[in-house]
């Protein structure tokens, strides 16, 4: 017998059987979910990456303290990458008799490679978005720079030996970064003008950057090539390194979506396993018959494996198409939100989904089929030679292997995959344990219940294994969805409202010491609240205990401040904060100390201008960065004010004060810049909101996969239910009683799943709030009650729909079955 022919015959013969249909449904739903999620997260991921890339104005940056070797540029161009160059230097700039310290940025090549610049032809004029450089001989200056220099558009500025005409005001540059404020105003010029200015001689402390952007592969090739060629003064800056906290949030978001998709995948695998076991169970007679007619075991197994392959191919086509349509729908739904700017669909993820389906089938559908080889031909004579279609010990390696491989394939990160898998397994195990306990209690209650209740509760007891799988799968799906609602609707709002009402929403920076008293008085008189004015200076960290500090972006030039008492939103975790009259001491933020390996008693050496000084670490602080107060990694004792050139930075809550105050402030003291950090808070909130919207869509598939598991489990126990329904009808139960019995069974199962899901979501939400958002989360009863009700309606509804045939089973069936 030819296995190929047999496989086609099997497919034709079994094509319309419920078991095969369920197996195909499992594979198709899994493929569809996977394709939709892969395609969608690929688009979202690229969109997020693009946004994050904008924070760098490139995909990758090589930074150095000296001019970068020309071969770096040559190699990047050879790999087909777009390139740009930046030189950053702080210098005094003159317009007429006025001078001002300016942060000059010389740009060349294709800068900006990602994102766009916003400029205006005049102060307060309309914005213009451009992707080009300043022309040679021209300069674009920030409005505060213009004010500081008492200059206007068309004036000439002296930059070293170059005379440049100010032609535009510079309003926005994508790679400015949201986390660090420029003390001096920015001026953007053509890189050749900066090079010609002769400002870049030795000791100029200029910073050089090579920007590259292009295909992922080419960027990776360049990264690998350049990495081994970097010296101590050069480093790579990637999207993950962007100072912009939004960049970090977006990078995390993509991972989060991948993890969310994995939950759906894990559930789909369970559905496929259940369907395959049910299908195998239904094939025992056929296999026994074929064997009795002389087919060899290998031939039958070959045919069954080939049949599974055909099913996989059908599922890839059908599921892939469905996934493609689904992700397009998702993009449409989000058309007014993040979907607005999604890049077009790429088809590569579909190939991944195909591999995934094959892996899924091999891991979860093949083992039960292969187990059919144990069916004896004697079964056709004696059905009691039955054996349960489980999976033999060795064959368990397949699903276990697949379970390990699928997340790696999907996430492309073995460590993360293992963490997710471990966490999912732990979560599922906890849900299963609680589900088992709840069912045990239901079983006990069944003994005391009557009629429909007894029948329903006993049903749970009878199908405890399937019930635990259903409750666990549904619990996971529902929990994931509820968690998303909690994060989006509740935690975000609570996080926002957890900020004190008078949390600073504005910073005024670059206040000169002689202006401090006047600025402070002006602000107070205007009615701002929670005003804090703190000194800030730049210093170079040159040694830790006499040794050169590690090559870290948090070392080198650092901002320091000084104070005589522990500032608000700071808590000492080691040592003791300085006494008011202490000198030569230093207090470090725990994050900075850990990163640079500094501990109590260490001596740090700094250099500022021509002056060097040292201080001993006497305390380590935990800083609440979410307080939006002005905080510093490094705090010195107050005598630092005597020898460190410094400026002051004020933080305040504008409150009811007139917002024209801000304009007045910068007009009176043009060197002072006011930064609205309320906008930053809004931006972070917006990102969390968008990501959770996308994740909700992804988690919808998790719920869908949970429902497929429920249906597969229902399908697996349908014959048993029909038999039972027929029996109790024969004994005199009417339709109402059978219906009530089913309702009791599904109702209790739904109660357990919903209770587990809402409790799990609440506990996880609380944990996330405490660990990530650092505030106490108060679950809202309304949300939990509605989540609970929705969960119950979903489970009972799908159980009800899946069991209509049970209600229609005629009692006479009991006479025709062998039990």
């Amino acid at each position: 017998m030819n296995p190929l022919t047999l496989s086609f015959r099997l497919l034709a013969r079994q094509g319309r059987s419920g078991a095969l249909a369920m197996l195909v449904a499992g594979l198709v739903v899994a493929t569809a979910a996977m394709s939709a999620v892969s395609l969608f997260t690929d688009r979202i991921g690229r969109a997020l990456e693009r946004e994050a890339g904008e924070a760098l104005a490139a995909d990758l940056v090589v930074a150095g303290r000296d001019r970068l070797p020309p071969e770096f540029l040559v190699q990047a161009e050879r790999l087909g990458l777009d390139t740009g160059e930046i030189i950053l230097v702080s210098t005094a700039v003159f317009v007429g008799d006025e001078s001002q310290l300016i942060d000059v940025k010389g740009v060349g090549g294709g800068y900006p490679l990602r994102g766009q610049l916003r400029i205006a032809a005049e102060i307060d004029g309309p914005e213009d978005t451009v992707s080009r450089l300043p022309d040679r001989g021209t300069a674009w200056l920030e409005p505060r720079g213009l004010r500081a220099l008492d200059a206007g558009i068309g004036d000439t500025t002296e930059l070293g030996y170059s005379d440049l005409t100010i032609t535009r005001t510079l309003l926005f540059e994508p790679d400015r970064g949201g986390g660090r404020f420029l003390l001096a105003p920015r001026m953007m010029v053509h890189i050749d003008d900066l090079l010609d200015s002769e400002l870049l001689g030795p000791g100029a402390r200029a910073r050089y950057r090579l920007l590259v952007a292009g295909s992922e592969a080419a960027v990776n090739d360049f990264r690998n090539w350049v990495q081994s060629r970097l010296d101590d003064n050069q480093r790579l800056i990637t999207v993950a390194d962007t100072e912009d906290q939004t960049g970090m949030a977006l990078t995390q978001a993509r991972r989060f979506l991948g993890v969310a998709a994995l939950t759906a995948v894990i559930l789909a695998a369970v559905a496929v396993l259940l369907s395959a076991m049910r299908f195998s169970l239904a094939q025992r007679d056929l296999v026994a018959l074929l064997k009795a007619f002389g087919a060899k075991g290998g031939e039958v197994m070959g045919a069954l494996t080939l049949m599974l392959l055909w099913l996989v191919l059908i599922s890839i086509v059908v599921g892939g198409t469905a996934g493609l349509i689904a992700q397009e729908l998702i993009a449409h739904i989000l058309a007014d939100g993040p979907g607005n700017n999604l890049p077009p669909v790429r088809f590569q993820p579909l190939a991944g989904a195909g591999v995934f389906t094959l892996l899924l089938a091999a891991g979860f559908a093949l083992p039960p089929l292969l187990n059919l080889r144990g069916v004896p031909p004697m079964r056709i004579l004696n059905r009691s030679l039955d054996q349960r279609i489980g999976i033999s010990r060795l064959l368990w390696l397949l699903p276990v292997g697949a379970a390990l491989a699928i997340p790696v394939v999907q996430l492309g990160d073995a460590r993360l995959a293992l963490i997710v898998l471990g966490a999912s397994a732990a979560l599922a195990a906890s849900l299963a344990l609680f589900g088992w306990l709840a069912m045990l209690v239901s079983g006990q209650l069944a003994a005391r219940a009557r009629a429909a209740w007894r029948f329903g509760l006993a049903g749970l007891k009878r199908r405890r294994g399937a019930g635990i799988v259903q409750v666990t799968a549904l619990g996971l799906g529902l929990m994931a969805l509820l968690l998303l609602v909690i994060v989006r609707a509740e935690m975000l709002e609570q996080w926002r409202t957890s900020l004190p009402a008078d949390a600073p929403d504005h910073f005024a920076v670059n206040i000169q010491p002689d202006q401090a008293a006047d600025v402070e008085r002006t602000l107070r008189e205007a009615g701002v609240v929670n005003l804090q004015v703190r000194p800030m200076a730049n210093a170079n960290l040159i040694a830790i205990n006499g040794e050169r500090p590690p090559d870290d972006r948090m070392a080198g030039q650092v901002n320091v401040s000084w104070i005589d008492q522990l500032p608000p939103a700071n808590e000492i975790v080691a040592g003791e904060f300085f006494a008011p009259d202490a000198t030569g001491e230093i207090s470090l933020a725990a994050m900075w100390a850990e990163r640079l390996g500094v501990s109590l008693g260490d001596e740090l050496n700094f250099e500022s201008g021509a002056r060097s000084f040292s201080a001993t670490v006497t305390s380590i602080r935990e800083v609440d960065w979410n307080s939006f107060n002005v905080n510093f990694f490094i705090l010195l004792t107050p005598e630092a004010a005597d020898f460190l050139p410094h400026q002051l930075i004020a933080s305040f809550h504008l409150g009811d004060a007139d917002s024209t105050l801000l304009r007045e402030l910068t007009r009176t003291w043009p060197n002072v810049s006011v930064i609205d950090i309320g906008a930053i808070i809004e931006r972070v909130g917006e990102i969390i909101d968008r990501v959770s919207q996308a994740a909700q869509v992804v988690f919808f598939f998790t719920l869908l996969a949970g429902l497929v598991v429920l249906l597969a489990a229902l399908e697996a126990t349908r014959d048993e239910r029909r038999h039972e329904a027929a029996l109790i009808r024969t004994l005199g139960a009417d339709n109402r009683m059978v219906r009530r019995g089913l309702l009791v069974e599904y109702g209790v199962m739904a109660l357990i799943a919903a209770a587990l899901a809402t409790t799990g979501a609440g506990v996880t939400g609380w944990f996330l709030a405490a660990e990530l958002f650092e505030f106490r989360y108060q679950p809202s009863p309304v949300l939990f009650i509605s989540g609970f009700v929705v969960a119950i309606v979903l489970v009972v509804g799908s159980g009800w729909l899946g069991n209509r045939s049970v209600l229609n089973t005629p009692p006479v069936r009991i006479l025709r079955t062998g039990g």
Binding site: R462, G732, N735, L815, G819
Partner: protein
Amino acid sequence: MNQSPREILSCRHVGFSVDAPGGRLDILDDITLSLNAGETLAIVGASGSGKTTLLGLLAGLELPTSGDIRLADADLKQLDEDQRARLRRRQVGFVFQSFHLLPSLTALENVMLALEIAGFDGVHERAVKALTQVGLNHRLDHYPRQMSGGEQQRVAIARAFAGNPAILFADEPTGNLDRRTGQSIADLLFDLNRDHDTALVLVTHDMDLARRCAHIEEIVDGQLVEKAVTG
């Protein structure tokens, strides 16, 4: 004065046919029989002769395509499925070849479930009494898988008699049991039939068992061909 025996079951000119690829297929044709309270009737016949179908029709599990059946004074044709189910609750008991006990319920719970469906009070006491009558008072909390085939069939018999039905339908009740166990199950059935004055309709191909009934009807190709009255 002698009271005339109460007729518990009667069927007149009952036929049953199904649609088949070759046209209408007659399974039963023109079946007429009756049974009084407490009487016993064996329906015998070869496999496929239609005896199980007849049992299903007589018990109201299905409706005939022609003819009339009266069960416990009710015309089955006039009742919908739920009404027939309610009739079975109090009037009918069943014993099957494959026992058909719910595997997750204990012997006691299996019997109690049937009594609860029938709406009896004091189901626990009644179930214990029924199981004691079949000699299983020491097996009340055992699950079907923990009992032998003969014991499972005893539980099924206890379940059938616990509600004191007017008529009991038994489909090959000894078919899955060895000869000796089958014998004791048959003894139990006939003893309870006498004690409870329950009419008994027995479908079997075992002529020894059939001969213990007062009446025997044989079906050949869907028709009653012979009527006999035994001892």
